[in-house]
Symmetry: C2
Subunit: 678 residues, 2 copies
């Protein structure tokens, strides 16, 4: 009897047509048309591939089957997809006209048509087809007993051709498995450029057979072998992703100079002049642009590194060289005069121009951070725009300048995900400047954007939670129509995507548990986890003011490492307060007071846990502040008692404290509003 | 004021002497003497190394500092330990007389002395010293605000020299990061042999430069490169662990024969005679022992594989060859006659004997599963005992036989962790047979034991939860005194160790959450998690009866993959019922009825969740059975109502069902007892 009931229920649900808004697709496709029907998934579901695709389509289709099977538990009969046209009558037909080439300005479009008994994917190449498979996975729906796709037609293509993620593997080394799972996540978000920051003051991370000392002396044993790099380039290629390596010169050079001090800019040097840096910040060690040995060394490095990467782009950094060691070295000053280089910028341009032919020899285009753009810089160079308000210039100014001056350019200002800002700041950051005076041709110079994950404060355990799910919003900004920007929809969809990214291997949710169990000293973590839902790590590098509080070897197992931007209960509380202040209905009041009661409860639980968990102690002043304020607010709201406004304001300001445990309360603004309004 | 209170409290706690039983050490040391005092940890804590150790001590000491810092958040000033005698006045002094050699029968002993202002580790070599560091980490204590070690002297050494873990990377490929984190966990449990099962019917997992087709055609792209293997051997060496590779011959040969059918035993063959196996079980494809080409191929393989492994042991499998293809091939039968080999066992011995010189050439001793032991087998071979009651022979019979016949031998029967049995069955399985008639010399032939993790049903996501924490109990059996076998103490200590293993990278806890979120379809997982605390996966391979229900590419994202042996609430409930039946006090009754109420609640929550989670449906019959029975038992116990015994017995037997979702209720026996007793 119950069985019949379930069957009836399921058929009812199957026939209830889903609305477009209920689909949790990211990035949102260019055109989608839902029709009234469903494609039911069974264990007989099979895929067939036709056309002339790159073999990467086989691996991706096999992975698609495994991911779909993992989510549905249907035990698909089809195991590995390895041949063209193996199942001509399969329900899912993928046709690719041609072999997709990894790079920018490729045709990545696809058509996805889901009928009740057939699914067709048509794409110019496998690059579009693998995007279609990701869309199809995101379309999966279910009722109580079965899984299906809604019938639909989707026509999709990217708005920008450069949709990148940079990972800094120098500040904290990020092992191969971290890189691989992030490439998987990038592919799921239809991103196509992985920018690999491989060297910096804190370490040299690439094996060089002709210069083995670089990793022997300047990596603490943490580096990628050449085989591992080739393996990653192949892994990325299989996912339609271009890898752009970065060797950051002439600044950020502590690591390389600790091995080769003779090419540094200090007047006097010995083997101890430079050392691998353990702190964060901008440091003076800089390559000597007047020394022919510098170019000899770089040429040898590029000769060995370039062939490891099949793509046509090479990032040489070029950022944050303040030239202090140049200024204080008479030999370099003389070189400047002799070569009629007026400023250090001119000298850096001289330096960078020497690298262009070294890279061109290997068919690579030079890319660099915006500081490389001076009047004599080659127009072939790609300008990576990163500065903004924090650096005292208008946001992304260099992007417009680059486009106007004939450079291809990529935006990262506004996409600095390590700043720990709310996702909306990244989501609404359009690479195409609004109301700009750029011509169509100039606009075409703007290739897209790149999320940058600097790793001063991110370890292999925590980096995923710093990248995801927020980078999905950046991926959408770079792929979808400029008018797709509804924040409510973003948060809903990102929430689902977050779980799907976990299914793909991203550890942003699971490692939170790992850290919480450590902080709680293996006690119950529920109260700590709840508290983390209203706390966010200190923002814009204020967590590590001066760059010396945290060394590269400091513990990153603290409460601030658990917390993330977009604290989930803060989002809920903000909405509850906003609704309550508009309409003080009983329902709206309860939504607010439930939070307040929860926070009182959290503090008492944290107090109890702290008796056996020293790492909880630093949180107590903050949990006490929010608990104390919540108590007072409850007296006002529920009991309608009068409370002393001075005491209240004092309590509110205590909730704005940023000196406890490197986190801040994400509910401060709403608490303040609530206090003022009552 | 509060600050003073905390200080007072902490000093009180610091002075309260911890009891030996409260220490959660695993494996338990041979001698421990706690004294009345503490060593307080501060950020100034430093380590100094003296003597003549292998450089692995530097990496291990650095890792020790990072792990201790990660747990305490103290921000130790010392970063990387790279030199002898760098801080002569450091609080922790490590002295190693000599450079430790990786292998068996090495001196792994250590002395650890903790005084209130100094810690001394003395060991013959770094091998003992790194064990001491693991013990020290396990000794960490805390009060509410600070961390300390209790003052103590520990003198420790292993009971057996072979303390192994085998991981099957053939059935399901286990990537490098899985292997690395398990090597870390092994080292934490003072285990010293990693047996790497690299080939089987389901795949060939080692790159061979001279036979590239093996991985091209028989690995589905999932294999270890030679560089990766060398990297793992080095990683293991740094942790004092010997790596023993296994290439399983002459049976378990589907993968190799799919590439080289000409060395198979079937009379007629072509390129399609053999195929990589997708199911589980014992299959007929077997190498042809009468064909010189077989030995030529194996010789070439060993010539390439042996140099990758620095250890002196090589496992050639040799198990489960039923000889069916030998029996049906006249050419092979003729070969038997010609060589006066009466049985297939004799023929296999002939085969195995050919391998001994191939391995000896590379300084490797041959090891094989017990089937290789026949009267003509070389006494140099090491016999790996695995059969027992499930195979119709007395448990570990071959171990005694081997010892008596002059073979060195290692026990795995009783250590088959993939059988999903309770930990006590492994813990109480002593490699030294009780009341045996073995002479002292014969006993010395028993090297130790090895946990075996076959991976038919274990993926990279789930394998850690199949290995840990249970293997810690096996590690203790192999290291500690034979009289250390209190089960209550085991469970208490294993619970703490389980969290510490997570801190080291083992994913057995965190991946449970990943799978639960998938099964719940991203809904709240609390009820599912609670239900998993009384369910265990079907045991002794009954989950995959016939070996065909699950293919290598089937989904292992199901509820049975979440569940583990030693279901935690079952342990609690068993104890509660046992106490209640002895003494029906109100307190004891409440402990029982709280469980029953919880299970009624779980079922109703699972019902609600299942409306939007098809993967929950298969659990409902079982959760309903336990809920229904719980309701009736509550009526009896709390309301003292009479219930129909037939109905009750029927409900109890429904709780014994093994046909739902591949799990069984671990509380069945206690429910039955409770029902009978009431």
């Amino acid at each position: 009897m119950k069985y019949i009931f379930i069957l009836l229920l399921s058929s009812i649900l199957v026939n209830a047509q889903i609305k477009t808004e209920a689909l949790h697709l990211m990035p949102w496709p260019q055109k989608i048309n839902l029709t009234d029907g469903n494609f039911a998934l069974t264990k007989n579901f099979k895929v067939n591939i036709t056309g002339n695709p790159n073999p990467r389509i086989f691996a991706r289709t096999t992975q698609f089957l495994r991911r779909l099977d993992g989510r549905t538990g249907l035990f698909f009969e089809q195991g590995f997809v390895t041949k063209i046209n193996e199942f001509p009558t399969a329900q899912l037909q993928i046709n690719c006209v041609q072999n997709g080439k990894i790079g920018i300005n490729q045709d990545e479009s696809y058509q996805l048509e889901i009928k009740s008994d057939k699914i067709n994917i048509n794409a110019s190449s496998d690059l579009g087809a693998i995007h279609a498979l990701e869309t199809l996975l995101q379309l999966l729906q279910n009722n109580s007993t079965s899984y299906y796709f809604p019938t639909a037609t989707i026509s999709d293509f990217p708005r920008f051709t450069w949709r990148g993620l940079m990972i800094d593997a120098a500040r904290h080394f990020q092992p191969i498995d971290v890189i691989k799972r992030n490439l998987d996540a990038m592919a799921a978000m239809k991103m196509n450029v992985f920018h690999w920051h491989l060297t910096d003051d804190q370490g040299w991370r690439i094996e060089l057979k002709n210069h083995p000392k670089l990793t022997q002396l300047a990596s603490d044993g943490q580096y990628y072998t050449q085989e591992e790099i080739k393996n990653i380039v192949h892994y990325a290629d299989e996912r339609g992703i271009l890898v752009v390596p970065e060797i950051d010169v002439p600044g950020h050079a502590s690591a390389i100079l600790s091995v080769y001090p003779e090419v540094g800019s200090r007047i006097k040097f010995d083997q101890n002049t430079y050392a691998v840096e353990r702190n964060s910040g901008i440091f003076t060690p800089t390559l000597d642009p007047s020394n022919p040995k510098t170019y000899q060394l770089l040429s040898e490095i590029f000769d060995e590194v370039c062939p490891l990467f099949s793509g046509n782009y090479f990032h040489i950094g070029g950022d944050e060289n303040e030239g202090k060691d140049w200024d204080s070295n008479p030999k370099i000053q003389e070189f400047k005069k002799k070569n009629k280089l007026e400023t250090n910028h001119d000298l850096q341009t001289y330096f960078t121009m020497q690298l262009i032919p070294m890279l061109k020899k290997h068919n690579k285009t030079l890319m660099g951070w915006e500081e490389i753009m001076t009047k004599n810089m080659s127009k072939e160079a790609i300008i990576h725009s990163w500065k903004g308000i924090n650096e005292g210039v208008p946001a992304g100014q260099s992007l417009t300048t680059a486009a106007k001056n004939g450079y291809k350019t990529v935006l990262s200002n506004g996409f600095y995900i390590d700043l720990m800002l709310g996702v909306e700041s990244h989501y609404l950051n359009d690479p195409m400047p609004k109301n700009s005076t750029l011509s169509a041709e100039e606009k075409a110079q703007i290739l897209g954007g790149e999320a940058t994950m600097w790793s001063e404060l991110a370890t292999p355990t925590t980096i995923d939670s710093r990248i995801w799910p927020r980078t999905a919003a950046i991926a959408e900004r770079l792929w979808s129509d400029e008018n797709v920007k509804d924040l409510k929809s973003l948060f809903q969809r990102m929430n689902t995507i977050s779980f799907q990214l976990e299914g793909l291997g991203i550890t942003h949710i699971s490692n939170k548990g790992v850290l919480l169990r450590n902080i709680s000293n293996y006690q119950n973590t529920a109260a700590l986890e709840d508290f983390s839902k209203i706390c966010e790590p200190l923002k814009v590098y204020s967590r590590n003011a001066g760059g010396t509080e945290y060394k590269t070897y400091s513990p990153f197992t603290l409460f601030a490492d658990v917390c993330t931007p977009d604290a989930v209960d803060a989002l809920g509380f903000n909405e509850a307060v906003s609704n309550y202040l508009k309409n003080k209905s009983t329902e709206n009041q309860i939504l607010v007071t439930d939070y307040l009661k929860k926070w009182i409860d959290i503090h008492s639980k944290l107090m109890a846990l702290s008796a056996n968990a020293p790492l909880i102690q630093p949180l107590l002043p903050l949990s006490k502040s929010v608990s104390d304020l919540s108590e007072q607010l409850l007296l006002k709201i529920e009991k309608k008692q009068a409370v002393n406004p001075n005491i209240m304001n004092d309590l509110v300001e205590k909730c704005n404290a940023k000196n406890h445990a490197d986190v801040e309360l994400a509910v401060y603004n709403s608490l303040k509003k609530l206090n003022s309004a009552e």
